[in-house]
């Protein structure tokens, strides 16, 4: 084995485990939002997984309330309700009354806590006020006789204890404490939407098993439900025959598409082994019609709304293998919901595209967008008022707002539409060019025009498809923009511009330590550290000194360091101590770090042979720390130039303490 192969093998062995299962779904979701704007945040996967696990664990918790059952035992609580749980199967709940008590029975065709077997939960409830029903101690049993087991978290009894339900008379739905909605079967409530329906084309697990047997025998009436590609994650739900047949045969939609223009939905395998395809939202397109508002949009141009000029019939559905899993398993639609309209305007948020009827917005006209941009650019040429056009105060940081890097004012401008209006929200992406010095200097920026939540046209910088670093160029060169860094909850701020950059390394960052690198090098760096702790004999971290002078004395007496006498300076108007430090010739190496540490901070505050550190020690004026250290580290031969490069950062420090 070569050295390269050995290194590769060892590093791969040490690589963290990566969970792909939720990642693709998150990418889909983020893409849907990104298509409408750049502002989105991906939920850390660990949080998403936790939420999913929790939902799975308490999938039987349900709450409802309504009229006082004690006085009205025949009220709207009684009857049959359905709910689709997080593993994609359908739960059916029957509520009846016996004397003064209320009895519930919940059947689940696929229960994760029963390893996929059906389950039954029974319980006797009591009223809580006029709208609450509590089931103190429901009993869950697996229909196959096995013992139900919680997949994670507390014992199963805990989340089932004191189940409570709330009734919404307006929609005649029951909502549980995790937000799941139970819909009355055959109900004719005042607002029947959202309509939740069950499995298709089979309607029970027994039917699925029988269909599986027939498919295994080659019956063409059922083999079409087998989709090895879907089970192998090689196909998206929108391309699966189970979906296309459902939309055409069951819903009667001749034309349809995924709500954001693609196909949507990837398959996943749950911890219980169940294969499912993630929730996908589809909209119905008017057959043969071009979308009048977005005739040229590649995603929405061929999908005209079906309800009116703006609104689409919208269905959210999930497909799953409820019986046999894998390439030979049958796929069914395990739940589907006709999503209701909303009185609120569509936004760039995810919920607008997953929890409500999809609407398209009237796109800005070229004239509208151009007028807005031209007014913005004229304000920049005039030297005032440009900030008012930007959608968010933070966007006031747009580089070179009123002048070039040399301070030259702008004289003329151009705009060019790059993309859009993008269906369904009408975002438009522009390249703007500002000219100065008789056209010798050209500043190019990428800006988006979009409607905000109130319908007003606003500007967003930079546009979503352009990396932040390259969103502004001057004569073809990327323009560096100083960024405001916050430290100690914003009590300390400083500005950082290229070629300084934040550390890439997690071990160089914490709430009390920030590391910047110059030109991406580790050797040349600046470290900001709160309450630095000296290194004592044996590489033990000593207690944090009470003030800067005490720390300076400690460093000067450290036999592993060669520290110059501290001199008084000012940082942000506050008295500070400045001292230069190098590692002593025979300095003890701290085993964990591999180099002598000046103060506790790992490799960030360690000194390699030939490196020098300039240390500023400040008696911190706030209560969050006692001493603040700024350390600039560089090889001896580059030390002065690095100090010079770091000077703007040091001079930008501000303390925002009371």
């Amino acid at each position: 084995m070569t050295i390269d192969e050995r290194i590769a093998a060892e590093l791969r062995r040490r690589s963290p485990q990566v969970d792909e299962h939720l990642a693709w779904d998150r990418i889909q979701s983020a893409a849907a939002k990104r298509r409408r704007g750049r502002a989105f945040r991906l939920v850390p996967i660990s949080v998403a997984a936790l939420g999913s696990a929790l939902m799975g664990l308490i999938l039987f918790s349900s709450f409802f309330s309504g009229p006082d059952l004690a006085s009205d035992p025949g009220s709207s609580f009684l009857g049959t309700w359905v709910n689709s749980d997080t593993d994609g199967s359908i739960q059916t709940m029957t509520i009846g009354s016996q004397d003064d008590a209320v009895e519930i029975t919940v059947h689940d065709v696929f229960s994760s806590v029963c390893s996929g077997a059906p389950s039954t939960m029974t319980g006797t409830g009591r009223l809580e006020g006029k709208r609450g029903l509590v089931i103190p101690a429901p009993v869950l049993t697996c229909d196959d006789g096995s013992q139900p087991v919680a997949m994670s978290g507390p014992p199963l009894e805990d989340p089932l204890r004191n189940l409570t339900f709330t009734h919404d008379p307006g929609t005649d739905t029951l909502t549980d404490n995790i937000g799941a909605i139970w819909v009355r079967v055959g109900g004719n409530g005042p607002n029947p939407e959202p309509t939740v329906s069950g499995m298709w084309p089979q309607s029970s697990l027994e039917e699925v098993r029988e269909a599986q047997r027939l498919a295994d025998a080659g019956d063409p009436g059922y083999t079409w439900q087998v989709d090895p590609e879907l089970a192998a994650w090689a196909k998206e739900a929108g391309d699966a025959e189970i979906v296309t047949r459902f939309l055409r045969d069951e819903l009667g939609w001749e034309e349809f598409q995924w709500s954001v223009g693609g196909h949507g939905g990837s398959s996943e395998e749950t911890s219980a082994g169940l294969m499912w395809a993630t929730e996908s939202v589809f909209i119905r397109c008017a057959p043969g019609l071009t979308n009048p508002l977005y005739p040229d949009d590649p995603a929405g141009g061929n999908c005209a709304p079906t309800i009116d000029e703006y609104r689409y019939e919208t269905v959210s559905l999930r497909i799953a293998q409820l019986g046999l899993q894998g390439p030979s398993g049958l796929w069914v639609v395990s739940r589907w919901v006709m999503l209701p309209p909303s009185d609120e305007p569509m936004t760039h948020g995810e919920e607008s595209f997953s929890q409500r009827q999809i609407e398209q917005m009237t796109p800005p006209s070229d004239a509208e967008a151009t007028a807005l941009l031209e007014a913005f650019l004229q304000a920049r040429i005039d030297g005032e008022g440009a900030q008012e056009f930007l959608s968010h105060p933070a966007d006031g940081e747009i580089p070179l707002l009123f002048a070039t890097t040399t301070g030259a004012s702008y004289e003329t401008s151009e705009i060019e539409l790059l993309a859009g209006p993008v269906w369904p929200l009408g975002d438009m992406e522009f390249e703007v060019r500002l000219f100065a010095e008789g056209g010798e200097t050209v500043v190019v920026q990428f800006i988006e025009v979009r409607r905000d939540d109130t319908g007003r046209l606003v500007l967003v910088y930079p546009s979503g498809s352009v990396p932040w670093q390259t969103a502004t160029t001057e004569n073809g060169m990327t323009v560096a923009m100083a960024e405001l860094y916050e430290f100690l909850d914003g009590e300390v701020t400083f500005e950082v511009a290229q070629p300084w950059d934040g550390s890439f390394a997690g071990w160089e960052e914490s709430p009390t330590m920030t590391t910047l690198h110059l030109d991406g090098t580790h050797e040349e760096r600046l470290v900001v550290l709160a309450d630095p702790r000296p290194i004592e004999t044996g590489c033990v971290h000593g207690p944090a000194p009470g003030d800067a002078e005490a720390l300076a004395r400690s460093l000067m007496s450290d036999p592993d360091l060669e520290a110059a006498e501290a001199v008084a300076v000012h940082i942000a108007g506050i008295e500070a101590l400045q001292m230069d430090v190098m590692a002593a010739t025979r300095a003890n190496l701290c085993e964990d770090v591999g180099v002598p540490e000046v103060v506790a901070g790992g490799t960030a505050t360690g000194l390699e042979p030939g490196q020098r550190m300039r240390l500023y020690l400040i008696d911190y004026p706030g209560g969050s720390a006692q001493v603040l250290a700024i350390a600039i580290i560089a090889p001896e031969d580059r030390f002065e130039s690095v100090i010079e490069a770091a000077t703007p950062i040091v001079e930008s420090f501000e303390f925002h303490t009371d």
């Binding site: 050295i3 290194i7 590769a8 990566v18 792909e20 298509r35 934040g502 890439f504």
Partner: protein, 179 residues
């Protein structure tokens, strides 16, 4: 090492339809092929798995939105990888800015790797200068060629070779216990 896999994806001309958006199935194939190794490489380089996942997923999401254009690149995988690297940088900067940054600190602390690295080789990796470290993980963990590393990092292939040589020397010492 399957160093040309991403190229194969990018060169699937038979899946293209001129002038139309391509089916994202090709993007999903790229995802299945490269997501894990990109995340692992960036997590090793930055010491933060969650941040590496965020950055890589955002890069794929961005690719999805512009897939009609990006799929026509010679190597869409290289584009995704480069964007992920940039986003990791940006995310780090963002964490240090504004209230959102402060709120995230709690999460970040939990994801910082242990102070004591698990092995000499990982310790050695952490001591490498950033560019050497990134070169090393893209080459050894992500399985890229030097040309692909250069493309991902927007530096010359010669620089990659220099960084890799230095990284290899340092890592070899750690591997053999002579560091």
């Amino acid at each position: 090492m399957a160093r040309d896999d991403a190229n194969e994806i990018g060169d699937r001309g038979d899946e293209r339809e001129e002038g139309l958006l391509l089916t994202p199935a090709t993007l999903e194939a790229l995802f299945r092929q490269s997501y894990r190794s990109i995340v692992q490489a960036l997590a090793l380089a930055g010491g933060d798995l969650a941040a590496a996942e965020d950055a890589t997923q955002e890069a794929f999401a961005q690719a999805w939105v512009s897939w009609g254009r990006i799929s026509r690149y010679d190597n869409p995988g290289a584009w995704v990888r480069r964007v992920a690297i940039n986003k990791l940088h940006n995310a780090h900067r963002s964490r240090l800015r504004g209230e959102a940054a402060v709120q995230r600190m709690t999460y970040e602390v939990a994801s910082v790797p242990p102070a004591e690295p698990e092995s000499d080789l990982v310790l050695g990796l952490q001591r490498l200068p950033y560019k050497q470290r990134l070169c090393a993980v893209l080459y050894y963990v992500d399985g890229l060629s030097t040309a692909e590393v250069a493309q991902a990092m927007a530096i010359s292939q010669g620089s990659v070779s220099q960084h890799l040589n230095r990284a290899r020397t340092a890592l070899r010492a750690h591997l053999e216990g002579t560091a």
